[in-house]
């Protein structure tokens, strides 16, 4: 009889805790409910600790890249500064200190905003250059897109009262029907994946290949 490996222990922990949490969902038993609550709280603490691992790993990789003058090593300097300057200020003086707020409002915020705002330009370019009614299917798609766009622009309701209900109908009926299929399919897939994880057939979370 072989000794239990770390992998076996990890699978056993997953199996026991996973089934316990599922079981707890169906019972009203204060001791069991409290224990489940403690387990989920422990998970949030572990998730918090995972951040330390992530920061540590990124730092290690980029310091190595920097010391070896690896590819784009100057980018590593930017990344290390971007991680560590706010981190040190935040830990030493809390997030409410003016320098931290300044960094967030005047560096991170505008960069983050600009990144998303660029999408608007590509949407317009795509709408003008690529959205063509070449076939009947693409015509229907284009018509639906136009109606939803017009329904979303509040001012169009004053031009013709029908834009809003028509746009809402597209979202509430054909869109809902389509997404419902996607949601049900995803849910079935997730359930199968969960069962495989609990039974130790799916080992991706242990960085190992599936069986």
């Amino acid at each position: 009889m072989r000794a239990l490996s770390l992998r076996d222990i990890a699978i056993m922990i997953t199996f026991v805790l996973g089934f316990f949490i599922i079981f707890e969902y169906f019972v009203k038993w204060p001791e069991v409910n409290t224990m489940a609550s403690n387990i989920t709280q422990a998970c949030t603490v572990i998730a918090g600790l995972a951040t330390i691992v992530g920061v540590g790993n990124l730092t290690r990789i980029h310091i190595r890249n920097l010391t070896r003058r690896g590819p784009n090593y100057l980018h590593s300097i930017v990344l290390l500064c971007a991680i560590w300057i706010p981190l040190v200020i935040g830990i030493m003086y809390t997030r409410k200190t003016p320098s931290y707020v300044y960094l967030y409002n005047n560096v991170y915020g505008p960069i983050s905003n600009a990144f998303f705002a660029v999408l608007a330009f590509y949407i317009l370019s795509g709408a003008y250059r690529a959205f063509r009614a070449r076939t009947f299917d693409s015509f229907i798609l284009m018509l639906a897109a136009i109606l939803v766009f017009l329904g979303n622009a509040p001012v169009t309701g004053n031009l013709w009262a029908g834009f809003d209900p028509l746009g809402s109908w597209i979202l509430n009926v054909p869109n809902t029907a389509g997404y419902r299929g996607v949601i049900i399919g995803t849910a079935i897939g997730q359930t199968v994946l969960a069962v495989r994880v609990l039974l130790g057939r799916e080992l991706g979370y242990l960085a190992q290949k599936r069986e």
Binding site: G48, G109, A127, Y128, R129, L150, V155, N172
Partner: protein
């Protein structure tokens, strides 16, 4: 210039047109008319119908990337909640939540004017509380629902047993309403809060994510939804406190119309080119 040349216009001209069109309302506010949509109005009516002393949990899970789209929704909802005799428990399941919550209270570029707490006469710890950031994503949603005291202290490290409001909020059974303003994890909130416990859930979401949530609105798992900047502007209209959301509606109107116009013009040029034998 031939039709083909116009049809294959350098995209940089389009970018310039968008920039000009979006800038006009910033310089000259147009004040285009608008009225509240059904989903926004439903969210408003749910909050209006809550009896006094009801506990409402609102999650600030937005990020700066969404800019005013989500931040204005959060501010509008917070203003409404504070204007009513409710117990408001604020929490952040997103890393940027605490920064954006602070911005909402102080005012800011993507937030609009500050939320003046003195105006509402609310007392911290009695009428409202901020519990800070809780990491862990979906596990944290589940955990907070089971035990709303899981943080043990509030954002200022005050023990929760010293805050009278928390006596009303032990777990999800005490919540009359849950609200989240978020750019992601929509299904996880629904699964852990409304589907598991049947609590009423309202979401503030970006326009790009709204279509995938309509099935949940149809089933009632999502009671109401504020969609994009429009949802924020409409909500500000309903609570009669126009802010940044309402101001930015002109930009939304013009850019949406520009996109529709560009689709139509693009197609006219395409078909005109085909009829003229250019393709």
């Amino acid at each position: 210039m031939t039709l083909r040349k116009i049809e294959r216009l350098d995209p940089r001209y389009l970018f310039l047109i968008l920039l000009v069109v979006a800038s006009i309302p910033m310089i000259i506010p147009l004040g285009l008319p608008m009225k509240a949509g059904a989903l926004t109005e439903k969210a408003y009516l749910i909050i209006e119908s809550l009896p006094p002393e009801s506990v409402v949990v609102i999650d600030a899970c937005m990020s700066a990337g969404y800019g005013p789209e989500l931040q204005t929704q959060f501010v509008a909802l917070l203003r409404h909640l504070l204007s009513r005799p409710l117990k408001v428990v604020i929490v952040s399941f997103g890393t940027e939540g605490p920064m954006l919550f602070d911005m909402a209270l102080k005012g800011g570029l993507i937030s609009g004017p500050k939320v003046d707490l003195e105006k509402y006469g609310k007392v911290y710890g009695v009428d409202w509380v901020y519990l800070g950031y809780i990491p862990g994503g979906e596990t944290a949603f589940a955990s907070f629902a089971r035990d709303s005291w899981m943080t043990k202290v509030d954002d200022e490290n005050t023990p929760l047993d010293e805050l009278p409001i928390m006596q009303y909020c032990k777990n999800i059974d005490d919540w009359s309403l849950s609200i989240t303003v978020t750019g992601g994890s929509f299904e996880q909130y629904i699964a852990q809060w409304s589907a598991a416990y049947g609590t009423t859930l309202i979401m503030g979401v970006p326009g790009v994510s709204a279509p995938r949530l309509f099935p949940y609105v149809a089933t009632g798992q999502l009671a109401a939804m504020l969609v994009s900047l429009r949802g924020a502007g409409e909500y500000e209209l309903l609570i009669k406190q126009p802010g940044l959301g309402a101001q930015l509606m002109d930009i939304l109107n013009l850019t949406q119309l520009l996109i529709v116009l560009s689709v139509i013009i693009g197609n006219i040029l395409y078909f005109a080119g085909r009829l003229g034998g250019q393709k």
